[in-house]
Amino acid sequence: MARIEIDDLTKVYDSGDESIVAVEDLDLAVDDGEFLVLVGPSGCGKSTTLRCIAGLEDVTGGTLQFGERDVTDLRGSERDVAMVFQNYALYPHMTVRENIGFGLKLSTKLTAAEISERVESVAEMLGITELLEDKPKELSGGQQQRVALGRAIVREPSVFLMDEPLSNLDAKLRAEMRTELQELQQDLDVTTVYVTHDQTEAMAMGDRVAVMNDGVLQQVGSPEGIYRQPTNEFVANFIGSPSINLLTAEVDGNTLVGPAGFSYRLSDTAPVEGHSTVRVGIRPEDITLTEDGANHATVSVVEPMGNENFCYMELGDHELTARIDPDLRPQAGEEVRFTFDEKALYLFDADSGAALKTKSDAVSPGIGTEVSR
C-alpha cells in the first residue's frame, strides 16, 4: 500500500520534426488506499498519465514517488503496480490459471505450489474458480473482466492502475461491475488510479476525481466538489449530464444581458466586478419553468425519461436544457418562461474561463483541494 506522489510530470512525444505535449507539469497526490479517478475527453492525457505511473512510458520530466520510493526510473515490473487494461489483454493461448499466475511465475520466487494456491484463492474471491482451466476466448466479457482483475489482485501490488476497464461491457454489466470494483477496492484497500472518459462513472466511483484537458490537470476534488465548485468553465461543462447551459452575457451594472432578450439581475455584483462580459452557467436541474419567470425561450423537444423530463429550448441561437417534473409537458414550439436561483448560478471569466462564482445554494460539501494554476 502506498501513497502516490506525482511532481511536475511532463510527457512529450517526438514524431519527426513535430513534438506533441501529452501531459504538462502535472502535480497530483493520491492518498494511501484512495480511489482516484482520472477523467477527461479522449486525447486529454489521462491514459498517458496512467501509463507513466505504470512505467510503460518514460517520463520526459518530473518525478514519481510511491510512498518513500522514487520510482521514476524503474521499469513497470519493478514498481509493484498492477494494471487492468481496457481490452483486458488476457494472453489468448493461456488458460485462466496460467493468465493469473503468469506475473508470479516470471517475477517472484514463489514455488509452483504457492503460485497455484494464490491463484486459487483469488479465483475464489472473484467467483471464477470453475473457469480456471478455460481459455480467454471461451469466456464472456464479464468473466474476462474478472480474470483481468484477478491477474492484478494476485500480485498484491501496492498500486492498482485501471485503464477504462469497464468500457467494453454492456450497460447493465457495467453498472454491476462498477459496484463490485468499488467494493473490491475497499476490501483490499489498495491505492487505485482509474482512468475513464465517462464522467458518470468518474462521479460514481471516485473518492476523488481528477479532471484533465489538453494534457493539463484542471481540478482535483470530491465528485460533489468538482460538480458544485468547478475551477473553470471546462470542468463545469465536462462534469454533469445533461451538460450545464452556458451563454455569454454583457455586464450592465448589476444586470447580465444575454442573447435573445435574456437578462438577469444580480443581487451580489462582487463576482463580476471589473468584467464587461462573462460566461453564465446554469445546471439543467436549476432551471424552473414558471409563468412568472423573468426570461423566456421556445420549446423545441421534450424527452420524457420517466422519472423526469428533459426539456430542450431555444434561446436565440442557444439551446438550453432543463430537467423538469415528469408531469410538466410543454409542447414543441410553445413559448415558456423560466427562472433560476442566483445561488445556483455559475459565472466564468469570458477570456480565461476561470470560475468567478459557483454554486452556493446548499450546505457546502467537503471541497477538494484545488489545483493552483
Binding site: 505504470a54 513497470g76 515490473s77 494494471m83 487494461f85 489483454a89 494472453y91 489468448p92 493461456m94 503468469f102
Partner: protein
C-alpha cells in the same frame, strides 16, 4: 414456374457433371501413378495399360533402393525442408515481430528493401549463389541448400502483417508482469501467432520441398540428392526403369498428399496468407 424448375435441374446437372469431370481429371494421374508403381516393368509397358494395381510395389522399391538408395534421398529432402522451415520460421518471426512492434532507425527503408525482393523470381539468384557457394567451399552441402533461402521475404512480410494484429496491451501487460522483451517474444507473441506460424510453415516447407534448379546446380554427390534432383537423374539414364521411376514419384507425392489431407486447413490458410500480399 415449371419452366424455371426444369432450367434449374439442367443447371444442377451441368454443374455436377463439370465438377465430377474435373475431379476425375485431377485424380487420374495420381491413380495411374500408383497403379504403375505396383506393376512389374513388362506389364507396365503393355498395351492396353493395366488399370488395376498389381503386387510388385515392394519388388520395384527394392530394385530402386538397390540402384540409388532412394531412402537416403527422401531423408535428405525431409531433413533439409524441416531444418529450413524451423530456422526460417524463427528468423522471419523474430524480424517480423520487430517490424510490427518496435520503432528503430532504418525501419522504413529496410522494409521497402524486403518488399522490392518479394516479386523477384528466385532463379535470378542461382548463378551468383552458385559462384559464392563454390568459393566458400559449400558446394554439395546441405547448408548451401538451406542457409541462402532462410531470409524469406514472404515470411517476414506475413509475420509482420500478422503480428501487427497482436494488441499492444497484451505486450504491455506482459511487461508489467515482469517479462523481458525476449520473453514477450517467445512466451506471448509466438504462441499467440500459432495459426499464422502453421500457415507460414507450410509455405516454407513447400518452397524448399519443390526447390529444383538450385539444388540441381549445387549438389553433386548422388548421396546428397534431394527428391527432385534424384528424380530428374533417374529419367536421364540409358535404360529407363519405368517401374522404379513410378515407385520413386509415388513415394515423393503420396506422403505429401496425405500430409495435405491431414493439414488441409493449414495448407489453405497458407495459400491464402500468401495471397494477402497485396
Amino acid at each position: 414456374m415449371r419452366e424455371q424448375r426444369r432450367k434449374d435441374a439442367v443447371w444442377m446437372f451441368l454443374t455436377y457433371a463439370f465438377i465430377l469431370t474435373m475431379v476425375v481429371v485431377m485424380l487420374i494421374p495420381l491413380y495411374w501413378m500408383i497403379v504403375a508403381a505396383t506393376l512389374p516393368q513388362q506389364e507396365f509397358i503393355e498395351f492396353p495399360p493395366r488399370l488395376i494395381p498389381g503386387t510388385a510395389f515392394l519388388d520395384n522399391f527394392a530394385a530402386l533402393q538397390e540402384r540409388m538408395n532412394y531412402v537416403v534421398t527422401i531423408w535428405n529432402s525431409v531433413f533439409i525442408a524441416v531444418v529450413y522451415t524451423v530456422l526460417s520460421l524463427l528468423l522471419c518471426s523474430m524480424a517480423g515481430f520487430a517490424f510490427a512492434k518496435y520503432e528503430f532507425r532504418f525501419k522504413e527503408p529496410l522494409f521497402y528493401a524486403i518488399l522490392a525482393t518479394l516479386v523477384l523470381p528466385i532463379q535470378l539468384l542461382v548463378i551468383p549463389l552458385f559462384l559464392m557457394m563454390s568459393q566458400i567451399g559449400w558446394t554439395d552441402t546441405f547448408r548451401a541448400i538451406i542457409i541462402p533461402w532462410l531470409a524469406n521475404p514472404i515470411g517476414i512480410f506475413l509475420m509482420r502483417q500478422n503480428m501487427r494484429s497482436i494488441p499492444d496491451a497484451l505486450l504491455e501487460s506482459a511487461r508489467m508482469d515482469g517479462a523481458s522483451e525476449l520473453q514477450i517474444f517467445y512466451r506471448i507473441a509466438l504462441p499467440a501467432m500459432r495459426s499464422s506460424l502453421a500457415a507460414l510453415a507450410i509455405i516454407l516447407f513447400l518452397f524448399q520441398w519443390d526447390l529444383f534448379l538450385y539444388p540441381l546446380v549445387i549438389l553433386e554427390d548422388p548421396g546428397n540428392y534431394t527428391i527432385p534432383v534424384a528424380l530428374a537423374g533417374l529419367e536421364g539414364t540409358q535404360r529407363i526403369y519405368y517401374d522404379q521411376i513410378m515407385v520413386a514419384t509415388t513415394l515423393a507425392i503420396i506422403p505429401m498428399a496425405i500430409l495435405f489431407l491431414v493439414l488441409q486447413k493449414q495448407f489453405v490458410s497458407g495459400i491464402l496468407a500468401g495471397s494477402l500480399k497485396e
